[in-house]
């Protein structure tokens, strides 16, 4: 009898232990990783004035000033619009390098020697002026970082994609008009001045990027952002496709390089933006 009782007690003990263990297994499964965190994004409007600078450009760097406005639907998704203007641009090292090797004046006969002058080369360059466009954003990650183990910040990381409308200002290169004579017949073949320059105007293309917000408090954050734009352009006024215009005057056929919109090619244009994000309303609640 005692053996039976002991056996029953043993079974009971095992059952109790098993029940306890089952309840104890991974109670945090499917639970959020972070509780009581500040909800910086949901249902808030974000306004981010920023300064930007292009990089990895071949001929001209552009400096941008503008802003991004964004409404956050929830923790992860938002939509917005950005607009930036470039009041200032700067030649790259490559441009300076090329210009240093060019003559100050065009050759007398550029059909024989089509080397452009310094001003002709520079006048052929386009300049980025305006970048605007809508986008949608996705913010998958947030966290906390420690800098030198002494400064700690909350941050989040976001990606975005959208459409960019980009305005390029065409170079100053224009058709050559020989003012030394009344005759419309070219006295000398000024090959590079006869370029039909068309590398300005509005272009449309995709834009995408990612950024980092570092929160200083509940409604102000520092913002750093990378932006990639892919549009058709012709930075240096090159004749990419080799097509020509032909004109016959006095039984002489002249060949003109034709630079037009067909010479534009899809090119990457990239920017870094640095700014400050302001959130409205200023109060941000905490999660459960």
């Amino acid at each position: 009898m005692r053996r039976i009782i002991s056996f029953l007690l043993l079974i009971n003990t095992l059952a109790a232990t098993q029940a306890y263990a089952a309840d104890k297994s991974d109670p945090l499964k499917d639970e959020p990783a972070v509780r009581k965190r500040i909800l910086y994004l949901p249902k808030r409007l974000e306004v981010t004035p920023s300064l930007g600078v292009s990089f990895l450009q071949d001929y001209k760097h552009s400096f941008l000033v503008g802003a991004r406005v964004e409404y956050h639907l929830n923790d992860y998704f938002s939509f917005g619009f950005s607009a930036h203007y470039s009041p200032l641009s700067m030649n790259t090292g490559l441009t300076d390098e090329i210009m240093s090797t060019l003559p100050s004046e065009l050759e007398q006969n550029t059909y024989v020697n089509p080397t452009p002058s310094k001003s002709a080369m520079e006048d052929a360059l386009d300049t980025l002026r305006v970048v605007v466009g809508p986008h949608v954003s996705y913010t998958p990650a947030f966290g906390k970082m420690g800098l030198f183990s002494s400064l700690f910040f909350n941050f989040d990381l976001y990606f975005y994609a959208g459409v960019a409308f980009v305005q390029f200002e065409a170079g100053n290169l224009s058709k050559y008009v020989d003012t030394s004579t009344d005759s419309k017949v070219p006295q000398d073949h000024k090959l590079h001045i006869d370029i039909e320059e068309e590398n300005g105007g509005w272009q449309i293309g995709p834009q995408a990027g990612f950024g980092l917000r570092i929160y200083l408090n509940r409604w102000i954050a520092l913002n750093a952002e990378f932006r990639w734009i892919y549009v058709k352009r012709n930075q240096a006024g090159f004749d990419q496709n080799g097509d020509r215009n032909y004109e016959t005057l006095n039984d002489v056929t002249y060949e003109y390089i034709r630079v037009d919109s067909k010479d534009a090619i899809w090119e990457n244009t990239m920017f870094f933006h640095f700014g400050a994000s302001f959130f409205l309303p200023r109060y941000a609640p905490r999660s459960e």
Partner: protein
Amino acid sequence: MKTWLTIFLAIFSLAVLPQNAASQGKKVDKKEKKKSADADIQIEGDDVKIEEDGPPTTGKVETPKTPAKDGLDDDVDSLDVDTKPATKTGPSTAKDKGTSSESTGGDKDVRSYWSDIKVVPRKLILKQNRVELIPYFGTTLNDNLIRHILVGGEFSYYISDALSFSVGGHTYIKQQTDRAYLTGLQQRTLPTLNTYLYSATLNANYEAAYGKMAIHNSKILQWGIFLSGGVGVTGTEIIPRNAGHESWVNTNITIQVGVGFRVFISKWLTVWLSMRNYMMQDRFENINRTEASAAIAEEDAAARFINNIVFQVGLSVFFPTDFDYTTFR
């Protein structure tokens, strides 16, 4: 009588004890369903203090009177144990229990139940006295006319969790861009170009920033940002503008500075990204070169300071692949 008493006790035990165990589980489930953060997140450390805050009534955003140690609101404190002193290592004191009981509404059973659950991930990798092998590839970034693909590796030894010394190097594979061709064709300028052959440097690396981030508030990734500096050599070779001219090779003293980022995958594996500037005084073909001989042309070479900015990406493997944590959770 004794036998009957034993039988009675056995039946009582069978009937009651499993129910107790089950009810204990149910009690916890109820707490869990309530999503009571106080019950599950705060239990581990009294260093996790979460303010009770509500919307401001005056229109002003109130700041806590006693700011947290790190100056933030501790909203992601559950990610933060590693940057704070180690948690208590001994048995809980009466004071500890009292405090935790307050945070869990005085439910001592729940407190004892949760007390051994670790909700805070530890630092995934301890690096001190370990070596790291980083095979990587990359690309040069700042030359419009000639691009190079990098293939190389780096070997590091960590003297502390933040500081390491390394030796690394890579070889370059050149690719001239369309821009180089068009520049020559239409701007009538043959660019003076050198191609990189190799770079090898001795480096010191310091992990300046460390952080954790939650992906969709579920998966936690740990990452670090490191600064790097070093000295070494870079081999370059000129590309003659005239195909009939001879080229020569330069060996340039190189200073390297950079910044990198890594994401920790396991105790021995990380994804490694780096942006580095290899700075050197390089020597180029003189623009007035007429001599085909490399020996003569080299004497007239034009020196120039070069910033060779590269982007590198690789996987880093730590050896030994396993380690023991030196502190308690």
